[in-house]
């Protein structure tokens, strides 16, 4: 365990950024295609559902204060079973990292740099992630904190320019809510991004006070933000356009016009998204490395982080053939897949926890 403390504000910003991250660019188009005008409802209800599910982990964390995810499973299940559970958790983290890089590659090669070899983006991001992991959680938290004012300013600016082309008629005709689209079809959003939250338990012990409460706050802010972005896209681009294009937010930023000499600002806007992506990658990567270090009793994080970065880069190359398959896979399987680490494992741990406590008393 590191010797570090995070302030509540640092933790809050990590939670918000990690939640928004890839979902911010990838999901609005998908949601709008399914749920039409009511797509903005989806992040809210899935946010509540996702946070509700993560209460399982939060309960465990409250029972075992000042220890992290892997130590909890070790303490509850013992050495061998604890290690098996740890490996599942690590696997999930590696998968999330590969996903983030895969999405990043897709986005960059489809929109901004269409002729660049795609593994290069991932490699560059991972290089900095390795560095920050070696530097530790405090460096990571401070980096996040550093970006907060910048991002708030830019998001505010972006929203206020985008509102210029606002058109309420995009919300009309007020048709019946498409229940099918809002609920079952969009339920995958519970898993992505909200079920990735189990990684936050990793840094609970470092947070000064009330990490659980801060986490709840952060996740809900993230959900509201995603909802607001979806709302904004519906109001500016309209349902029809947004559901036809892969990255509506990118298209929106392409068409914003501050003044005739300041337009085409999608490059700038994309950079903020890249910061979000980077923070999620950096954080999840850090968690995976610490997890491996703890499971296999290794002191030096640098020794693990480089080969892990290579593994992640390799897997990220073969995640999906293209973005269409990515989205289809996500809609079909991600909920079941993430349930393993967000529902099955914590539920199992809680059951074992109760049994062992009863035995002791």
């Amino acid at each position: 365990m590191e010797n570090a403390t995070l302030s509540q504000r640092q933790f809050l910003s990590i939670v918000i950024f990690t939640t928004i991250s890839t979902a911010f660019y990838l999901l609005p188009g998908v949601l709008i295609a399914d749920a039409k005008q009511y797509a903005w409802l989806v992040p809210i209800w899935t946010g509540f559902a996702g946070v509700g599910i993560s209460l399982l982990w939060l309960y465990l964390a409250s029972q075992y204060p000042k220890v992290d995810l892997f130590q909890i499973s070790h303490q509850v299940l013992g050495r061998v079973a604890g290690k098996i559970v740890s490996i599942f958790l690590i696997y999930q983290m590696i998968l999330i990292c590969s996903w983030v890089i895969n999405n990043l590659n897709d986005f960059m090669t489809i929109t901004l740099l269409t002729h660049t070899t795609d593994w290069v983006f991932g490699a560059c991001f991972l290089m900095i992630a390795v560095y920050s992991t070696i530097k530790g959680i405090e460096a990571l938290a401070r980096t996040t904190e550093f970006f907060v004012p910048l991002l708030i300013l830019m998001i505010f600016l972006f929203f206020s320019i985008a509102v210029n082309v606002w058109d309420w008629s995009h919300f009309t005709p007020v048709s019946e809510i498409d229940w099918e689209g809002v609920f079952p079809k969009s339920s995958f959003m519970i898993a992505f991004p909200f079920m990735d939250a189990f990684t936050f338990i990793m840094i609970f012990p470092y947070v000064k006070e009330k990490p659980g409460l801060v986490y709840l706050k952060g996740s809900l802010i993230g959900a509201l933000f995603l909802s607001a972005v979806t709302f904004l896209i519906i109001g500016t681009l309209g349902v029809s356009r947004a559901s036809h294009i892969a990255y509506p937010l990118y298209t929106l930023s392409q068409e914003l016009e501050l003044s005739p000499f300041l337009e085409h600002i999608e490059g700038g806007i994309s950079i903020f998204w890249l910061i979000f992506v980077f923070i999620k990658l950096m954080f999840t990567f850090y968690c995976a490395v610490t997890g491996i270090a703890q499971t296999f009793n290794i002191q030096h994080r640098g020794l693990i982080s480089v080969p892990l970065a290579i593994v992640i880069l390799g897997f990220s190359q073969s995640m999906h053939q293209n973005i269409i398959e990515n989205i289809e896979w996500m809609k079909k399987y991600i909920l079941q897949q993430e349930s393993l680490v967000s529902v099955v494992i914590p539920a199992l741990l809680i059951v074992v926890h109760f049994i062992s406590r009863r035995r002791r008393t």
Binding site: A246, Q321, E328
Partner: protein
């Protein structure tokens, strides 16, 4: 050592180096050739055209003046070596040939054979052989005597057109060069040389050209490739046949393909990089068989379809791309079989094989024609465009 020797020896030594001054070249005494055209007239006389850059003219076109940036000289002679001496009778400067950009050969000269021209070019040490070469059906005189918009030196213009074919259409792979012709001169390998033609009927021979807005007129157009074997013109392929040709050779960097999904649905695909390629050359029941496996990675550029794009459509598109490419390649191969062009270099493959069964085939120079070619194309769509579904309406 006496003081005398101490000064004299270094001077003597240095004076040896002064001999190098014999090779000096004063730039204002040179006629820098930008493009060379060669032709042969009906009487068997060689015609050579040298397009010489005019530094003052280039400067003045930038400043908006209208002095000619280039001049074309025309010479006639019985042998290639003759031209250098002929040139001195007209051109007031020494011809400087090492930096020219493009070589234009007329179709009638190519049909007679390029052997002696290639030999002559190779014997001159100052010439760069990695220079782009073009064959034209039009008169070389017209090609050499026209101005093109945007580029003041026409050789550069042609080279850029060639490079754009490499980068954007896959109708060229950057091998239409004099050194490729030389390398393949003694083997049975075929060389594919770019064909160009003038896009208007008449060349535009004055700098008035720069004052007209019409960009298309008096330009060059890429029209396909000529097939050259041992310096001899065999035939030509049209631009749309060239893409499948380079595709089956595994050389093209990119390629565009239009796919008709149904009567009102279609898609456009683009190959992203050089495809992975596997070639197996084996004997099946005593008959030589060339098995080609090509695995291109493609991008969906645009699709017009009435439903949301899903992976099933992508699978279907991949399959249709494979079929379409197989059809196109087979068509080119059938044409080649009819015309007896060995596009895939099978004759050379046979000569490089070892083992029983091949000896009989090696003896017969026409045995390559018996070779069966099987094609297996497995494409995968790895990128899509920004538009996921098309807009419907109207």
């Amino acid at each position: 050592m006496t003081p005398f020797l101490r000064t004299a020896l270094p001077i003597l030594f240095l004076s040896l180096m002064l001999q190098g001054c014999g090779d000096y070249r004063e730039i204002s005494d040179l006629a820098i050739v930008d493009m060379v055209g060669v032709d042969m007239d009906a009487d068997g006389n060689y015609l050579a055209y040298f397009q010489v850059a005019n530094p003052n003219g280039i400067a003045s076109t930038k400043g908006g003046g209208s002095r000619s940036p280039i001049f074309t000289y025309e010479f006639k002679g019985k042998s290639w070596a003759e031209f250098t001496s002929k040139a001195t009778q007209t051109v007031p400067r020494e011809l400087f040939l090492s930096h020219f950009q493009a070589y234009i050969v007329s179709k009638r000269l190519a049909a007679k054979g390029l052997g002696d021209l290639l030999n002559f070019l190779e014997s001159d040490p100052s010439r760069r052989m990695a220079t782009a070469v073009f064959i034209t059906k039009d008169s070389v005189r017209d090609i050499m005597n026209t101005y093109v918009p945007l580029e003041t030196n026409i050789g550069k213009n042609l080279r850029n057109i060639q490079q754009l074919q490499v980068d954007f259409t896959g109708k060229e792979v950057g091998e239409s060069k004099i050194n490729t012709l030389l390398e393949n001169f003694e083997s049975s390998r075929l060389t594919f040389v770019s064909n160009i033609m003038l896009s208007s009927e008449k060349p535009i021979t004055t700098t008035k050209r720069y004052e007209s807005i019409d960009g298309n007129r008096g330009n060059f157009t890429y029209t396909g490739v000529s097939i050259i074997k041992k310096g001899q013109f065999l035939g030509e392929l049209k631009a749309k046949q060239v893409a499948p040709l380079y595709f089956m050779l595994g050389k093209s960097k990119t390629l565009y393909q239009h796919i008709q999904l149904s009567s009102d649905e279609f898609a456009d695909l683009q190959m992203l990089s050089k495809p992975k390629m596997k070639r197996r050359f084996i004997l099946i029941d005593g008959e030589p068989t060339l098995q080609l496996t090509i695995k291109p990675k493609i991008k969906l550029l645009n699709i017009h379809q009435n439903k949301r794009l899903d992976s099933q459509t992508l699978r279907r598109l991949e399959k249709m791309f494979d079929e379409e490419m197989t059809d196109q390649v087979t068509e080119v191969l059938n044409l080649a079989k009819k015309e007896k062009w060995d596009l895939l270099g099978i004759e050379e493959r046979i000569s490089h094989t070892t083992g029983r069964g091949w000896t009989e085939l090696k003896k017969n120079p026409d045995s390559w024609m018996r070779t069966k070619v099987t094609l297996d194309i497995k494409s995968s769509i790895v990128k899509t465009g920004v538009l996921v579904t098309t807009y419907e309406g109207g």
